[in-house]
């Protein structure tokens, strides 16, 4: 694993102009997914964990958060945008193609019991980040450009953007009931307003609407790809219920859960639009790997923000993970420095004062920095993958998007 780091760094001068990945390109892409060989994946995760540990402990002061996004482009160069178009905000570029997204989602939810319809539409008010749909349409256009220079988004690809957002929202609604959450995106949760029984039904309804839309695309491969997401989301929740004794297993368990709960949807949606846009399996894999790495990075930063941000910015309460008994990246790294945390982790921060103590440990340790560094590693993997596609404004937007993931504050 370490050798691939050095190859990657020296590959800064490698121009990704080739259409197919250069044969000599480092083959390491992080944990393979879906991981049929869980042991191999775990080993990769563990070695990644120790790599981060060793690198950051050697150069700790270099990776403080405030300097990260300034030193990024110098230390880890990636392919510069090659298109002639103006370098715009990737979200703006993406959202241009998503006009009417939420209206269209609401159309899929047209059913007669008004209250049920209201509950289902509650989060499709246009105020969410629309992060996943943006990635999906950008990926669609990047793949279409790569394949046949077409920059249009097919109707079926746009559908995938809707479906991804609907599946994501359905899982949020259920997660909020499971976690007994009271606020999300700056407003009360569905379960707090309408009660748990109806909230669960609303989630099921959104899922059924997403499935109907998926079936209407008429592509059985795409259906298989996205139903895998539904299974991964549930399994991710189950992984969260259980916990691992062994420290090494804990980290692998954490990354697997992160993949299933967050990255799988992004990875598979990207793969689905690439399947619809282009017949080349190499492109499908690139799309998948981009989505997967970006998704993991996104979740890692989310876990960091749970410690570093304040509630108003996030729209949901912070230290939420600790309060749910979850040991995320910063906690796991902090535990290396403060072995006293093991006991706290084992009892899932259930005793009074545990949450605050854990939070203090984390803030005193380098857990946040290390998790951020790891997220950066995944982002760069994502960039490396997407750079294999032909240049286009959308490909560049996707590259830029990964940096946005690292520097976001909510």
């Amino acid at each position: 694993m370490a050798s691939s780091w050095w190859r990657w760094r020296h590959g800064c001068s490698w121009r990704p102009a080739a259409r197919t990945p250069a044969p000599g390109a480092p083959g390491r892409q992080g944990p393979p997914a879906p991981p049929p060989a869980a042991a191999a994946a775990a080993r990769a995760q563990i070695s990644c964990f120790y790599l981060v540990k060793s690198l950051t402990s050697a150069c700790l002061n270099m990776y403080s958060i405030s300097r990260l996004h300034h030193t990024t482009s110098a230390v880890f160069c990636y392919s510069k945008p090659r298109s002639g178009e103006k370098y715009t905000d990737p979200f703006q570029l993406g959202r241009r193609y998503l006009k009417g997204l939420y209206e269209d989602i609401r159309k899929e939810l047209l059913i007669s019991p008004i209250e049920l319809k209201e509950m289902s539409e509650y989060y499709f008010d246009g105020k969410g980040k629309a992060f996943r749909p943006v990635i999906v349409v950008l990926m669609a256009r990047a793949c279409n450009s790569h394949y046949n220079n077409s920059r249009d988004v097919q109707a079926s690809q746009r559908s995938i953007a809707l479906i991804a957002e609907m599946i994501h929202t359905a899982s949020l609604v259920h997660d909020d009931v499971i976690d007994d959450a009271s606020s999300r995106r700056g407003k009360h949760t569905v379960n707090k307003i309408w009660g748990e029984k109806k909230a669960v039904l609303a989630g099921d309804l959104i899922l059924s609407a997403a499935s109907i839309a998926l079936a209407r695309i008429g592509n059985t491969t795409v259906i298989s790809i996205l139903t895998q997401v539904i299974e991964d989301l549930v399994r991710g929740e189950f992984l969260q219920l259980g916990s691992k004794e062994n420290e090494n297993e804990r980290f692998a368990h954490y990354l697997e859960k992160t993949f299933k709960k967050t990255a799988s949807l992004i990875a598979n949606s990207c793969k689905a639009v690439s399947v619809l846009g282009c017949p080349d399996p190499v492109v499908h894999e690139i799309a998948y790997q981009y989505g997967k790495n970006l998704g993991i990075a996104f979740q890692l930063i989310d876990d960091v923000l749970d410690f570093t941000s304040c509630s108003e910015q996030m729209g949901k309460p912070t230290s939420a993970d600790l309060k749910l008994g979850l040991a995320t990246g910063p906690v796991l790294f902090a535990c290396q420095q403060f072995p006293e945390m093991n006991a706290l982790i084992m009892r899932r921060f259930s005793l009074p004062g545990d949450v605050d103590r854990a939070r203090q440990y984390v803030l005193q340790s380098d857990g946040v920095q290390q998790t951020t560094y790891l997220a950066q590693h995944y982002c760069h993997e994502a960039v490396r993958e997407i750079s294999k596609l032909r240049p286009s404004p959308e490909r560049d937007a996707l590259i830029q998007l990964s940096e946005t993931v690292l520097t976001r504050d909510k």
């Binding site: 019991p113 009660g195 209407r216 259906i223 139903t227 989301l233």
Partner: protein, 399 residues
């Protein structure tokens, strides 16, 4: 119950007075008239069990516990272990789980059995020979068997999701909040797990029309369950202000849609044409309606019911009773049956039995039964078809 109106409701060709059409095929093609019912002398539960066990033989293996298999065999989720933690609490999930394991009348995995039977009854498509490469065991394609399992998964998932508890409405008698919260958690996850398995199963069928059918059935089912739950807290002891036609629409959503669309999907898998698919849909829809009305009628027709047996105030006989009597009078009757703020179900039951609600419900049940039989007529005679007929007879008998 008066004879002439019942006979008037039967389609002409099924009246007992004329020779039943196509009698030479099968002596079991009986009509739903009073006379033939007396011939079935065995008691209801025994007859039902007999019908089901014969049907299971026809389809080649026991259909019970289809959806449980995935729950119990999945090591990663280990749902069974989580549910065991709920023993001693009052969370509804425990009751649901027990009901799934016990062989009760209402939970015989009926939908799966019907899907298998109708697959067998329809046989391979005479028009479209593209299914020749599919596996077939006991006259049923493996994709159809898969579909039967998926149907049960969806049904069970919503059964489990019905058991979620509103935390804000809990009282001290319900036990500790954290038990209820944990129960909700496991119920949601188990239901979602079943749905995820259903979705994966659907993807494997490689047929987008079938996926769309079953997804729309899920949507209907969710709406149906929503209607079931939507009696407001204040009006707990009052029937919804709906007539029987609204009741039928809501009951179609909560009980009929899944079976109807699954039957149709089974035909689609075998590449049958639209007409056959529609007949299968009609059978599923009407049989499910009869089954629901039959189940609603049980508290009113059993000879020995204890005084404390309650019944659902939104069940068919009660809704019919309300419609016949008018809402104001019905609310007055409910008021009269209340003693110290509690509803005296025994007294209310007698009031309803004295009216026309029960007989109207029996008629409605038979109406749907006849429609189901009519739909079956377009299928060629076979063991499987007879089994489907017997199921209709079993749910429309009220001896």
């Amino acid at each position: 119950m008066s004879l002439p109106p019942l006979l008037m409701r039967l389609p002409r060709r099924l009246r007992a007075s004329g020779p039943p059409r196509r009698l030479w095929w099968s002596p079991s093609l009986r009509t739903l008239s009073v006379g033939s019912w007396r011939a079935q002398s065995s008691k209801a539960p025994a007859y039902w069990n007999q019908v089901v066990s014969e049907a299971e033989k026809i389809v080649g293996y026991p259909t019970s516990f289809m959806s449980l298999r995935c729950l119990l065999s999945d090591e990663l989720s280990n749902i069974a272990m989580q549910v065991r933690k709920l023993v001693g609490t009052q969370h509804p999930l425990l009751t649901t789980a027990r009901g799934l394991v016990q062989d009760s009348r209402n939970n015989l995995q009926l939908r799966g059995l019907v899907v298998l039977l109708i697959s067998k009854a329809a046989g391979p498509s005479s028009v479209n020979a593209s299914c020749q490469n599919y596996d077939m065991v006991s006259g049923i394609y493996s994709c159809q068997r898969s579909l039967a399992e998926i149907t049960e998964l969806i049904h069970t998932a919503l059964l489990v999701h019905r058991g979620i508890v509103n935390l804000s409405e809990l009282q001290s008698s319900d036990g500790p909040l954290k038990d209820m919260h944990f129960g909700n958690k496991i119920a949601i996850l188990s239901g979602d797990f079943l749905l995820a398995n259903a979705c994966n199963g659907l993807a494997l069928l490689q047929n987008t029309k079938v996926v769309e059918l079953l997804a729309s059935a899920l949507r209907d089912l969710v709406q149906g369950v929503y209607h079931e739950n939507s009696t407001s807290a204040k009006e707990d002891h009052i029937t919804n202000d709906i007539g029987i036609s609204t009741w039928k629409e809501q009951t179609f959503l909560s009980h009929g849609a899944l079976l109807a669309k699954s039957c149709q999907a089974a035909m689609e898998l075998a590449k049958h044409d639209a007409e056959v698919q529609d007949m299968a849909f009609q059978y599923g829809k009407h049989m499910a309606m009869s089954h629901k009305i039959n189940s609603d009628l049980q508290p009113f027709i059993k000879e020995k019911t204890s005084d404390s047996t309650t019944f659902n105030l939104n069940s068919a006989p009660v809704v019919l009773h309300q419609e016949i009597l008018g809402r104001d009078l019905w609310i007055k009757q409910i008021g009269e049956a209340q003693e110290k703020g509690r509803l005296n179900y025994a007294k209310l039951r007698e009031t309803i039995k004295a009216g026309k609600g029960v007989t109207s419900a029996i008629d409605l049940c038979r109406y749907h039964g006849n429609k189901a039989l009519a739909a079956l007529e377009s299928f060629p005679p076979s063991e499987a078809r007879s089994a489907l007929e017997n199921i209709v007879f079993a749910v429309t008998r009220f001896s």
